[in-house]
Structure formats: structure tokens, C-alpha cells
């Protein structure tokens, strides 16, 4: 079940082959939902679920899909799964579903999904494909959580809605940095994470 190859498939996307930092996939949503921690966590879980199950479904069908219409087949499978996620979120967590607004629907066009379907599920058996989906979804989720933690902590002094910056700091003159809530800071936060990640993994550095 979890031999060496499968373990690499599962754990490589967490850091060495991270979908956001290294493959540069799924940037759109990872930036837009990270102003607060809670929607970021929900988004990470949703993407993991959709990636894993769409990978499994496409992997089961990989020998029967004609090559010329595979994109449409993939889109339909993904869209059906996203609709399920959307309806579940609306039913059980309406607040977060409101905050995420269109970005739940945009999981369909999340490049991680299409990227993994094209690169992995079309050529591999269902079980490795499932692990690959889980791994990539988690790799994406980790980045989301890191970015959201930084932004919510510095931007509003809270985590998951609870105040964590103590009152005496404010009395000493500490202010929340409102800039962190604004969209552009998401990009700069991700850039800093990439910087740190690539300083550690020197082989990932680009020449230009």
C-alpha cells in the first residue's frame, strides 16, 4: 500500500515538489482566500478532496477516454465534484462559503487539478493517483495556511477570529498593519516564502 515509490508520490509535493512554490500552479486562489485563516483552511481541504477524487475517477477511466476530448471529460468530472463541495459548504458552513464566494467555483479552473490530471492520473493506477492528489492538495493547503497565518496575525492581530496579540502590546503603541489585509501583500508574502524555500533548496534556483 505505502511502499517507497508511493511514499515519494505522497510526500514530495509537500516541499520538494510543492505545487505552489515549485510548480507554480493554483496561484490564483492561494492568494485570494488567504486574508483570514479559516477560509484558507476550508479551501485547502476542499481542494485536497477534489484533487484526490478527480484523480481517482480519471485514473479509472484513463484507458477509455479518447485523447482528443480528454480536456472536456476532465472538466466535467472536476465540475461535478466541485458542485458537490459547493453544496456541502453551503449546507454546513454557510459563513465561510459566503467569504469564499466565487473561489469555490474557481476550483474547477485551478491549475493544480488539470496539471495533476494531465501529468499523473492519465498515466497511473488509481491508488497512486489518489495519493498524488492528497499530496498535492496538502502541499497547496500548507502554503495557504502559512500565508493566511502571517496575514491574519499581522493584519488583524487575530487567529481563527480569536485575539492573540495581547492588549498591553497595543497600549505600548503596537498597531495592526492594515496593509497585510490588502491583496498585494499576499503576493509579497508568497514571494518571501519562495525566497526562504529556495535559499534552502539551492537546486530550485533559476538562472534568470
Amino acid at each position: 500500500m505505502l511502499n517507497k515509490k508511493n511514499r515519494a508520490v505522497l510526500f514530495n509535493p509537500l516541499s520538494k515538489d510543492n505545487p505552489v512554490l515549485v510548480q507554480i500552479l493554483g496561484i490564483c486562489s492561494s492568494l485570494a482566500v488567504t486574508a483570514k485563516l479559516e477560509p484558507a483552511i476550508v479551501m485547502g481541504i476542499s481542494v485536497t478532496a477534489v484533487t484526490a477524487f478527480s484523480n481517482v475517477i480519471i485514473s479509472f477511466m484513463r484507458n477509455t477516454i479518447p485523447n482528443s476530448i480528454r480536456i472536456i471529460v476532465q472538466l466535467v468530472v472536476v465540475a461535478a465534484l466541485v458542485i458537490i463541495v459547493d453544496q456541502v459548504l453551503k449546507a454546513y458552513n454557510y459563513e465561510v462559503s459566503k467569504q469564499l464566494s466565487v473561489f469555490v467555483g474557481l476550483i474547477i479552473t485551478n491549475c493544480i487539478l488539470m496539471g495533476r490530471l494531465e501529468a499523473f492520473a492519465l498515466a497511473n493506477k488509481p491508488w497512486p493517483s489518489f495519493l498524488d492528489g492528497i499530496g498535492n492538495g496538502l502541499g497547496y493547503g500548507i502554503i495557504l495556511v502559512i500565508v493566511a497565518t502571517i496575514r491574519e496575525l499581522l493584519g488583524s492581530g487575530t487567529l481563527l477570529g480569536y485575539h492573540v496579540v495581547p492588549q498591553w502590546l497595543y497600549e505600548l503603541g503596537y498597531e495592526n498593519n492594515g496593509l497585510m489585509i490588502l491583496p498585494p501583500m499576499a503576493l509579497i508574502t508568497v514571494a518571501c516564502i519562495i525566497w526562504a524555500h529556495r535559499s534552502k533548496n539551492k537546486d530550485l534556483q533559476e538562472t534568470n
Binding site: I24, G26, I71, L75, D86, T109, I194, Q205, N208
Partner: protein, 204 residues
């Protein structure tokens, strides 16, 4: 007047890239030189202008709660809005296919210069995102929806061409090693986003 205001707003203030981060993947991948960036921008604008009116009509006459009332009054209570994602993506995918065939037939030179970008547009989040925003905002008419699509597309075009121009110059500068390539591109986009925020509050 209202449409003009919406047009300006969707280019500068509600910019697809800087305010919502839609279409970032191709924005980052295809911004190495100005010429291809411009071609992709045009293609995206074109697709938005085509798909938004279609999606608007679908939304108004099929998907909204009660939208089916024009067929017979009994259907007034039907709510098909859960189908909107799958219908919108189908419209976008098939429109992409049609446009690709049309361009190939009538203008082979444009087809050659756009190349791989045309089919990739089907999974560009800016297109689907624009349709979903249109659904949220309840526009009054097909024209307004089209104007919104055109504005968003031009805003995207503006953003990618600017970034490509900056990246062409960037090759002469001494960037810290781990930031080279994608890292510095993120920072530039962030700074451009802050610059674009100065358009906030424009009203016509």
C-alpha cells in the same frame, strides 16, 4: 454613463489580476516577452466578450431561481442555480474550441502567433471568474454584462503587458539568487497592485 463607469472600474479598480488574482497562472507563465503577452491578452479579452453575454442569457433564462417561468408558470419554483458551474465551464470550453477553429480557418497567421494559448484559455480562471462575478452582481442587461467582460479583459491585458515589459528589463538587474525568476515576479506584481490601488475612488 453607468456602463462607462463600470468599464473604467473593471479595468483599473476591480482589475482581474491585482484585485482578485484571477488568471495568475498564465499571467506568470506567459509574461516573458511583450509580444506573446499581448497576443494572450487579446485572446482573453476576446473570449470574455464572447462568453459573458452567453452566460448572462443562460443565467437569466435558465439558471436563476424562478428563471424558467417564461416556459410555463408551473416552473416558476424551479431553481437550477447549482448547475451554473458546469454549464458555464461547458460554454467556455466549447466557445474556446469554436474560436480556435474559426481563427485557424480565417486567419492562419493569428492562429500561428497565438499557438498553444488558445486552448489553454478554457482553463484560465479569469474567464470563469468573470462569469461567476457577473452572476453575483445581477447586471441589468446583456450590454452591461458585455461591457463588464470587455473591461475585465482589457484590465487583464494591461496588467500582463506591463509585467512583460518590466520582466524584459529585469534581465539586466542583479536580483538575489533565490528570488530570481518567479520570486521577483511575485514582488513586482505586488508592487504593481499597490500602484493600481491609487485608482481607487475614480468615479465618472
Amino acid at each position: 454613463m453607468e456602463n462607462l463607469n463600470l468599464f473604467i472600474r473593471s479595468i483599473f479598480i476591480d482589475n482581474m489580476i491585482f484585485a482578485y488574482f484571477l488568471g495568475m497562472c498564465s499571467y506568470l507563465a506567459v509574461s516573458k516577452n511583450v509580444k506573446t503577452a499581448f497576443g494572450l491578452g487579446i485572446a482573453v479579452t476576446f473570449m470574455l466578450v464572447i462568453t459573458l453575454p452567453i452566460d448572462y442569457v443562460l443565467e437569466m433564462y435558465f439558471l436563476r431561481p424562478g428563471a424558467l417561468a417564461w416556459i410555463s408558470p408551473e416552473l416558476a419554483s424551479v431553481d437550477l442555480s447549482f448547475l451554473s458551474l458546469i454549464l458555464f465551464i461547458a460554454v467556455i470550453a466549447s466557445a474556446t474550441q469554436l474560436v480556435e477553429m474559426a481563427v485557424e480557418k480565417f486567419s492562419p497567421s493569428l492562429y500561428a502567433s497565438l499557438g498553444i494559448f488558445l486552448p489553454l484559455i478554457a482553463v484560465n480562471c479569469a474567464i470563469l471568474g468573470c462569469s461567476l462575478f457577473m452572476q453575483q452582481r445581477d447586471f441589468g442587461s446583456v450590454l452591461t454584462a458585455t461591457v463588464y467582460g470587455a473591461g475585465s479583459g482589457l484590465g487583464w491585458l494591461l496588467a500582463i503587458v506591463c509585467l512583460a515589459a518590466i520582466r524584459e528589463r529585469l534581465s539586466y538587474s542583479n536580483v538575489p539568487k533565490p528570488l530570481r525568476g518567479i520570486g521577483i515576479t511575485f514582488i513586482i506584481t505586488g508592487l504593481m497592485g499597490i500602484a493600481f490601488m491609487s485608482f481607487l475612488g475614480i468615479k465618472i
